[in-house]
């Protein structure tokens, strides 16, 4: 049974990719997290306002796995910040075959933040607008773009979404 040309197997594999992505991020297990991307990946965390008005600026805008590695070094070794847990919830998958390559995957996300000794708060919410490709039977992110509704970032954004 195909929904918009996407096989059930592909759908399961893609949802599994997201489950792995979230598990690694929430566990701060960044090295394997980076390996979920292709080499010349696009990674962005971008305000919905900029996306809808056609402005190119993103809060984070990376264009390679190298830049992702640098970001991980940056947050683990250089950026002074109050640590926090992240808890991602990703849902409402919409998967279509992309005309370029792979699959266009949109999904809503919500990230809760919990700082030591503090109440949990809704930190960032929006929609992933991603492209996933299949290479030798495994699935990877070619583009991961977190377009966030949250008008104001509560002070800082340190860890990847």
């Amino acid at each position: 049974m195909l929904a918009m040309g996407v096989s059930l197997d592909a759908r399961i594999a893609i949802e599994d990719l997201y489950a792995t992505y979230v598990a690694l991020l929430d566990a701060r297990d960044y090295d394997p997290w980076i390996e979920l991307f292709v080499e010349d990946c696009v990674y962005q965390v971008k305000a919905r306002e900029n996306e809808e008005r056609g402005f190119p600026l993103a809060a984070l805008a990376f264009e390679s796995k190298g830049m992702l590695r640098d970001r991980i070094f940056g947050i683990t070794n250089t950026l002074f910040h109050e640590p926090y847990y992240q808890r991602h919830l990703v849902t409402n998958f919409r998967i279509r075959v992309d005309e370029r390559a792979g699959y266009r995957v949109d999904a809503n996300y919500l990230v809760c933040r919990t700082k030591a000794g503090e109440l949990t708060e809704v930190y960032n919410t929006g929609r992933f607008r991603d492209r996933v490709v299949e290479l030798d039977g495994a699935f990877f992110f070619a583009e991961k773009r977190a377009i966030y509704d949250s008008e104001l970032i509560p002070n800082s954004l340190i860890y990847p979404i």
Partner: protein, 416 residues
């Protein structure tokens, strides 16, 4: 001064190097700051002309805690009006931006032209029915007495400032020649193009952001990326510029090659082994207009920071939200004659700045931690004595003189 106005701030007369924590925590003092600093005697940033290029274009902005609308009228002139209907006080504009022929309050459809002049009141002369006239405004009601609050406006090289104070001095005089020169360096004879916005809410007093960008002592210590790549550190050529009243400043610097050396090795932030996997984030190309400096951080008191750090340009708007919080709105821009490569470069370097940036995310964090320190026992004072206890400009960056300069001015204008 009336007794009720007296503020309980313990601060030795003339002192500017020991700043009482209370000025970051006292609500009465904050109310006075809004009146004396944001609403009188000062020009405040509202936006860029490039955000509203066409007649009728508007953008909602803020001065202090008051919402304003920056709008271009049909003659191309930029006006700033308060977002508050003269009739019943409604904050009538609920769009963040858009295009309008008139400004209409939806509650009773009082309408204003794009200068804020009241032009229409429904049933002003009553409603005729069955041979009589119902309602209508009383004799003596004049449209001209009921305009929106129309602010003073100064558009300087495409940057829009406004003031609620009709007696405000001209903007150039307000800025002063020393600061104006660095303002011109970025904006004069250029057409700007907006690259986008970043918005963050920082749980700290608004003055802490002014201090942060008047503090050349911290970047080479807190910010690994600045030390490592020579963007800002103690051994670089730099100049601290301040206007004659002490309120505005520019931190001017020239990048060096970074790496080790005494300026780095004394700091814990320096990482000997740090090497970028993809250095396009720091693909710096010198632009002709720089004329030497690679960084100029301009603070125009009280409401805006203007950043040039290598190829990354932004305005950063400070919007206070109570004594212990402010919103910080970044507008990244480039120039209309930028090549696509230069635009991409500006966007890549933007990874250093904003709420997630390699060198700006932790500025917000330290401001939050400062505010918490003040709040937990506000009987103390900061020690703001690097490079002495006086004020004025200097020719190096191991100094807190710009912060002291601001407090010399602050004490004067605030009577504190």
């Amino acid at each position: 001064m009336q007794l009720a106005d007296r503020l309980d701030i313990d601060w030795d007369p003339g002192n500017i190097s020991r700043v009482p924590y209370r000025i970051y925590t006292d609500a009465a003092l904050y109310a006075r700051e809004l009146e004396r600093i944001f609403y009188h005697g000062h020009w405040c940033y509202v936006g860029l002309a490039a955000e509203i290029p066409n007649p009728g274009d508007f953008k909602r902005s803020a001065i202090g805690e008051r919402q304003v609308i920056m709008v271009r009228d049909r003659h191309g002139k930029i006006n700033v009006v308060e977002n508050r209907c003269a009739h019943r006080g409604v904050q009538f504009c609920q769009a963040t931006h858009g295009n309008a022929k008139t400004l209409v309050c939806p509650y009773h459809q009082w309408s204003y032209d794009l200068t804020g002049k009241l032009i229409g009141v429904p049933f002003r002369n009553g409603f005729k029915q069955n041979g009589r006239v119902n309602g209508g405004m009383p004799d003596g009601f004049e449209l001209a007495d009921n305009n929106l609050v129309q602010l003073q406006v100064a558009v300087e090289h495409g940057v829009v400032f406004a003031s609620f104070d009709p007696g405000i001095v001209p903007l150039r005089e307000y800025m002063g020649p020393a600061i104006g020169q660095y303002f011109d360096r970025i904006f004069k004879d250029r057409e700007l193009t907006v690259l986008g916005y970043s918005r963050q809410r920082i749980p700290g007093n608004w003055k802490l952001m002014q201090e942060n960008i008047k503090d050349p002592y911290h970047p080479g210590l807190l910010h690994t990326w600045f030390v490592q790549f020579g963007l800002w550190r103690a051994d670089q050529q730099s100049t601290m510029v301040v206007d004659e009243r002490g309120r505005h400043a520019v931190m001017v610097g020239k990048k060096n090659d970074g790496g080790g050396g005494a300026a780095a090795e004394a700091t814990t932030s320096f990482k000997e082994s740090m090497k970028l996997h993809d250095d396009r984030v720091l693909d710096v190309v010198v632009e002709p207009w720089w004329n030497g400096p690679t960084v100029t951080m301009v603070t125009i008191f009280p409401s805006v920071v203007i950043q040039q750090q290598v190829n990354s340009l932004s305005t950063r708007h400070i919007i206070p939200r109570g004594v212990d919080t402010f919103d910080f709105v970044w507008t990244h821009f480039g120039f209309t004659d930028d090549t696509p490569e230069m635009t991409r470069r500006r966007l890549r370097q933007a990874n250093l700045f904003g709420p997630a940036g390699y060198v700006s995310a932790d500025d917000g964090e330290v401001i939050e931690f400062s505010q918490r320190g003040y709040a937990q026992d506000d009987a103390h004072a900061t020690v703001c004595e690097m490079d002495g206890t006086g004020f004025g400009g200097t020719d190096h960056n191991v100094t807190e003189t710009l912060i002291r300069s601001m407090y010399a001015y602050y004490r004067d204008v605030m009577d504190v």
